[in-house]
Amino acid sequence: MALSQERLGKYNPEKPTENRITDIGPRHFWDFFPPVIQKNYGKWLYHDILEPGIMVHVSETGDKVFTVRCGGARFMTAENIREICDIADKYCDGYVRFTTRNNIEFMVTSYEKLQALKQDLLSRKYITGSYKYPIGGTGAGVTNIVHTQGYIHCHTPATDASSMVKALMDELMDYFTGMTLPAHVRISVACCLNMCGAVHCSDIALLGIHRKPPIVDDNIDSVCEIPLAIAACPVGALSPGKTEDGRKTIKVKEERCMFCGNCYTMCPALPIADKLGDGVAVLAGGKISNRISEPKFSKVIVPWLPNNFPRFPEVVATVKKIIEVYASEARKYERIGDWAERIGWEKFFEKCDLPFTEHLIDDYRLAYDTYRTSTQFKYTRAAWEVSKAAGGIDE
């Protein structure tokens, strides 16, 4: 019994069902719990964050478990996982955990081990000097960014994710290793509107978007089910057409396109990605927790920034600016969205020095519910610009 080492291993292509095991599901979780977790399952009384990235959980049995949380790139090599295993074997009896937000958690049961573990982790650096396992991501700070594939392995992205995350986290490192914000800030990156990463409810979200309508491949009739591709358009911008030589094709009513890319997802003969068209929308103010306020969607606050590879300086500067203004203005426990709602989005734009454009006004299906139907608003420069343009006040 061992992992096979022949080209086809123990699999016999002649008899694919021979000895086949299917539908066994994942490994059972209990066996992967460290003993202290098994013993104190359901008995935890409280936790404290001892310092950024380091928590202690205390059980009603008196047991304690210390956790060190490290940020990691979601994209990770076998080499990296083996190094994580080395650390886990050395300090954690061979157990390790990953979090939903791509953090790595090492758990130990004594303060002494904790100190050794911490020193070891911080001492590990890549040859280029970056941390392998930066400690942080707890409490009122910026934790690791959840994100999607981007150009590394996806066929529909409008931007890249791993590079943007690296660029962002390099700049936000102090917020990852500190807890200086009014509340935690969840950042996410999705490389297109399919949003595998579900950026629709994050404090700050970066979203790859297209801005040019699809072009139609010559061979579309042989590649795609044309009716299915037409039906894929949510706004009816596609219709049947004929090529000059009489084959079936698709016509694009470009002025109707909202650049969602669903047509391309359904039909590779309708490429939509474009170097000059694609870029990054910035969203803010979403949340998932039910704490104090209800979960809410992120709002689009910058409609487009360029895909300025590899470090996206415009994106990074915008995110940093928002966090800095938020840090200085919001109240304790107040998430970015709650803060923006308290002061009013008009003040958010003013304070963050972001231009407000017509692209930020909803004009999709539930748009009406976002319109301001009251006279409750605050004056800002943007309001005066409207008043001037309308002849409401003099220059």
Binding site: K212, P213, V216, N219, G285, D363, S387
Partner: protein, 472 residues
């Protein structure tokens, strides 16, 4: 301060205009009224004569009696119109269905609005209301009257119509309920020539604008609501009387964000008075409120013991922006954070007053549910000075009309057009930039309708060039 009409107004003297003599006006005794029965049996309506609230049935009955006691030639309509109206109403209760038919096209020459045709669908039972049209009379701004005018109108309408009114209709007009086609022109002639008074709007046109009491008797009013209302009404007489719109269009003018004429809910163009400087504070009066020397909210809550006034609880904590505080015994307002909701001013009118640099916020698109669902008006121009001759407001309005007439479908209200085309398109038409004040929040979906000019290189791309980079 005085406002002048655009042209000299005819002075109304009832004594010079009257139709009925004093004897005719007092032609029945209370005894007669007590014994009076209309010609139909109306047990359900008579049930509505009980109870403390004014009974429209009892009121109608006295009109019915009066008409019966007038000579037939002192009425151009049948004496029995009130009887028949009540009779038909009773029948409607029995049937659980109305007995009025759709109006046909009736009106006065050259006008498309102001008269609504109305016919009974049981004319054999109630012949005197077989034809029974409505006339809308344009009310004076904020509905102050001299009795001479009202008395003359009563004589005119009793003589040539049913003598039944709505005071007033939902849009604001005086509603004259029920006359025949024949009488429409004579009524219009006397209205214009004798009462110096025009009809209101109906159909697919500008409806009669209306406004709140404004500075006439309200300390909160930021603008001259009556003057603005009068100016828009008289300036747009053609739009009011001759349907040229996709559907109705209402303008209502509120003097402040309290919104007493409900412009934000009930008008396609909502003009709401506001200010852009600071709330005026009289710190002495604040103290008087705190000491309990002045009733909060003008005594509006005095029917119940709510305990002593608590400025923290009742004002500062209820401020929607949290922009108020007591500091060193003084009330401090951070006006930059104020959204002018009026609460503090309403509660302490003797201590707090709106600013003095006033104007209107302009909102567009309110409507009732038919068809796309009800809408409230959308904040479009945050602040606009509102001074005679109000050219800026008129220019804005005309831009809106031009677009709506061009793009609106039949029976599509402005608010629905804005929804269909999108608020950004509406802003483009108005020639104003977008502002966050126009929305509760920015969009949550990323479905931005980019335009070709937004994107470097435009939209034209070459599939062959693309395929050089990307193999199929």
């Amino acid at each position: 301060m005085e406002f002048k009409p655009k042209r000299p107004q005819k002075e109304i003297k009832y004594e010079e205009l009257r139709i009925y003599t004093d004897e005719e006006l007092h032609n029945y005794s209370e005894e007669e009224l007590k014994d009076f029965k209309i010609k139909h049996s109306i047990p359900m309506l008579e049930e509505l004569e009980k109870g403390p609230w004014p009974s429209f049935v009892t009121d109608a009955k006295r009109e019915a009696l009066r008409r019966k006691k007038l000579p037939k030639d002192r009425l151009m309509l049948d004496q029995d119109v009130v009887d028949d109206l009540l009779g038909q109403l009773e029948l409607s209760f029995e049937d659980g269905e109305t007995h009025w038919k759709h109006g046909g096209i009736v009106g006065v020459f050259g006008y498309g609005g102001g008269v609504i045709g109305r016919y009974s669908d049981v004319p054999e039972k109630y012949p005197s209301v077989a034809h029974f049209h409505t006339i809308r009379v344009n009310q004076p701004a904020s509905k102050f009257y001299k009795t001479d005018f009202l008395r003359a109108l009563c004589d005119l309408w009793e003589f040539r119509g049913s003598g039944l009114f709505n005071m007033h209709g939902s849009t604001g007009d005086i509603i004259l309920l029920g006359t025949t086609t024949e009488q429409l022109e004579p009524i219009f002639y006397d209205l214009t020539h004798e009462l110096d008074q025009d009809l209101g709007g109906s159909g697919s046109n500008l409806r009669t604008p209306s406004c709140c009491i404004g500075k006439a008797r309200c300390e909160f009013a930021c603008i001259d609501t009556q003057n603005l209302c009068y100016e828009l009404t008289t300036h747009y007489q053609d739009e009011l009387h001759r349907p040229a719109f996709p559907y109705k269009f209402k303008i209502k003018i509120d003097g402040c964000p309290n919104g007493c004429v409900a412009s934000i809910a009930r008008s396609d163009m909502s003009l709401i008075g506001t200010w852009r400087d600071e709330i005026r504070i009289d710190q002495e009066a604040v103290q008087a409120y705190i000491r309990g020397e002045i009733q909060p909210n003008g005594g509006a809550h005095s029917g119940r013991d709510w305990g002593p006034f608590d400025i923290q609880k009742e004002v500062i904590d209820l401020c929607p922006t949290g922009c108020m505080a007591m500091e060193d015994g003084k009330l401090v307002i951070n006006n930059e954070e104020c959204n002018r909701c009026m609460h503090c001013i309403n509660v302490m009118p003797r201590a707090l007053r709106p600013g003095v640099d006033t104007g209107v916020s302009v909102l567009f698109g309110a409507k009732a549910p038919i068809l796309e669902g009800a809408q409230l008006s959308v904040l479009t121009i945050p602040f606009m000075k509102a001074e005679p001759p109000y050219d800026n407001i008129k220019e804005l309005l005309e831009k809106v009309w031009d677009w709506w007439i061009e793009e609106g479908k039949n029976r599509e209200r402005l608010g629905e057009l804005i929804q269909r085309k999108g608020l950004p398109k509406f802003l483009e038409v108005l020639g104003v930039p977008a502002a966050p004040q126009m929305v509760k929040m920015p969009r949550t979906n990323p479905y931005i309708f980019w335009k070709e000019e937004d994107v470097p290189g435009g939209w034209k791309r070459d599939i062959k060039e693309y395929r050089q980079r990307h193999k199929r």
